[in-house]
Each structure stands twice: as C-alpha cells, then as structure tokens.
Chain length 197, copies 2
C-alpha cells in the first residue's frame, strides 16, 4: 500500500487526516466510529501498521461492506475489527488506550441521506471515546450542517466539547474563514499529556 | 540544542508549534514576523536547521535583544537575520519561497502593554507574507483579544483571511471550546499545493 503523504488542508477531512498523521504511530490502537465508505479506516490502518489495531463501526451494512472491500483491496483487513453496530455501543468492544478516534458525522456519502447520525448517540459515543483515549490521544469530529438535523447535531457536539475539563482535554473547533458558513468543519479533542485523568 | 518534541495543544502558541513542526523541514526559509522574546524564532531556527534561514522582525529593540540572547545561548544565531523593523516592511528583506511565517500579535510579554501590533500594519504584513509562501507553506497567527485594540485587530485579520481566494489558500480559524471566549486563538493560512497562484 502507498500512503499519500501530503494533502492540502482543503476541508474538514484533510485537516482531520493532518492531525491523525502526526499522532498515530505503528502499533497504536485506533477507532473509526463512523466508517462510511472506509477511507478514514484505511488511513488509520495504514498509520497503525501491522502491529496496530483498528475498530471500525457503522450501523449500515452497506458501509461495512464498502469498508471491507476497500481494506481487502489495500491489504489492510487483518488489523481491522469491523463492527456493524451503532457507535454509541463502542465501549462494549474497544479497549482503553486509544491513540485516535475518528468521527465523520452526517450521512453515508452515496447512501440514503435520511439515515444520519443523531445528537444523542453521537454525544454518547464521543463521551465513551474520550474516556478511552490515552494521554496525548485525539478525537477528530468532522461536522456537517447542510443536512436536516445537522445544525442540531453540531450544537450538541459543541456543548459536549465545552463541557470537558480544560485540565484533562484540549478542545479546538476549526472553521474555514474563506468558505461559506455551511462548509464542514472540525472539532479536535486531545487528552492532555500528564493531565489529571 | 534539544527540541521538545511533544507539547499538548493547550493554547494558540502550542497549536501553532504543532503545525510548524509538521511543515518546516531542514533547509527551509522561514519568517518570524513578531519575534518578541524569541521563542518562536528559536523553534523556527531549530526546525529549519543549519541549511535553513530565518528572518525575524520586531519593532522593539528590547525584543531584538532578548531574541539575540536566546539564540546565542542555544547556538542558533548564525542562521537568523534579526531585523529591528516593523513587520509591515518584511517584503523589503525576505525572499519568496517561505515554508512558514509566524505572527504572534498583541504586546511583548513582560514589556510595555501599550505597545501593541496594529491592524493596518498587521494586515499589510500578512498580505506580504502570504505572497511569499511557497506551495504548501503556512502562516500561523496567534490572536489576542484581551487587550485594548485586540478585538479590532482580530476582526481585521478575520476579514483579511476571508478575502483570500479559496483556490489559492486554505484559511482556518481555530478556537478552544472549553476555554473562555477571550482565550487566545489561531488563524492558519496554507498556500494550496498546486494552487493556481
């Protein structure tokens, strides 16, 4: 497999990938909470390498199938636990010590646009993921406000992020100044090194 | 010299350093538009290495002296052009092809708090720096709104960032969700790889 090393920070997903490339190292445990078509899962599998492990969730069978196909083609399936389940159940499956957790909210690209992540389950999953992060580990959350329910979900993520202790987590919200306000954007949560939790 | 490799993203300056560490490589040309006490200049000098060059500006003699002392102590002075001049004059001295330009606005820490960067000169300097960036190069701007004139300067930087062509530059504004609204924050400008300029 060949990793694309540099990509411009042209959108929330490339910015998420920028962070993941700096933080995830071979052997790490990582999580894709919303595998969708599998592109984030593939990046995580590449970064975590042969000694690493990836847990990838999606509630839609179509997403799990697409991700499986992509990972097989790229020779990365062995290190990935594919779980057809909502991300709000992630703590049942994923151990503590995560280097990274990726959330790409909204609907499955190319899928049914009425099937979207929802605020209550997303915030529950984020809370579980935050507890499982190791020191210096990160969560990236790509947020979309252009679909029905999107603004409410984004608001819920903001409130959740604002509620995290600044002694335990750094929480950044990054938006593009020269794009329309509806452009997708990124929330980054970092568990502070040497923090009190 | 020993570089501290990992720092938590606890504030605008650490986030700026995170980006600089990923982007600046040995041999690069880099700019510190506001050297202040020299900490950003030192990081840039370390990252650009012996083959690199750093241009560091400050209008205050005290800042230039502090930066010189720090760089000498760390054995990094040789690669740094220290210029006692306002950053709005940077295009007179700095060549094209910058990998990074750092702006840390507001007043000199420990100095006279009435001596602050101002919106007109800052926006002029930012425009010059943006033109001097190489493809994939970045500007980081740490913004402070807690001093008199700070909110107006931040507003001017926002308007400048919003005016940049999205075909040529990615412009991100990153703020901390779990800190008070007055917390310093970061604007990041990236010249797009393969962009049209």
């Amino acid at each position: 497999m060949v990793m694309k090393k540099k990509e411009s920070l042209r959108g929330a997903v490339p910015l998420s990938h920028f962070y993941l490339r700096q933080v995830v190292r071979p052997g790490d445990l990582v999580l894709d909470a919303t595998c969708g078509n599998g592109f984030d899962t593939l990046l995580l599998a590449e970064l975590a390498g042969e000694g690493g492990q990836v847990w990838a969730f999606d509630i839609q069978p179509r997403a799990i199938a697409a991700t499986r196909t992509l990972l097989e083609r790229e020779g990365c399936l062995a290190a990935v636990h594919l779980l057809e389940a909502g991300h709000e159940r992630l703590a049942e499956f994923v151990p503590a010590g995560l280097a990274a957790a990726v959330f790409n909210l909204g609907y499955l690209p190319g899928g049914e646009t009425s099937l979207v992540t929802d605020p209550v389950r997303t915030v529950s999953a984020l809370g579980q993921a935050a507890k499982l992060l190791k020191s210096g580990g990160i969560i990236t959350v790509a947020l979309y406000t252009g679909h029905e329910g999107g603004p409410e979900e984004a608001q819920a993520v903001h409130e959740w992020g604002a509620s995290l202790s600044p002694r335990e987590y750094n929480v950044w919200c990054s938006r593009q100044l020269n794009r329309p306000p509806v452009a997708p954007y990124l929330v980054l949560v970092e568990r502070i090194r040497g923090g009190s939790c």
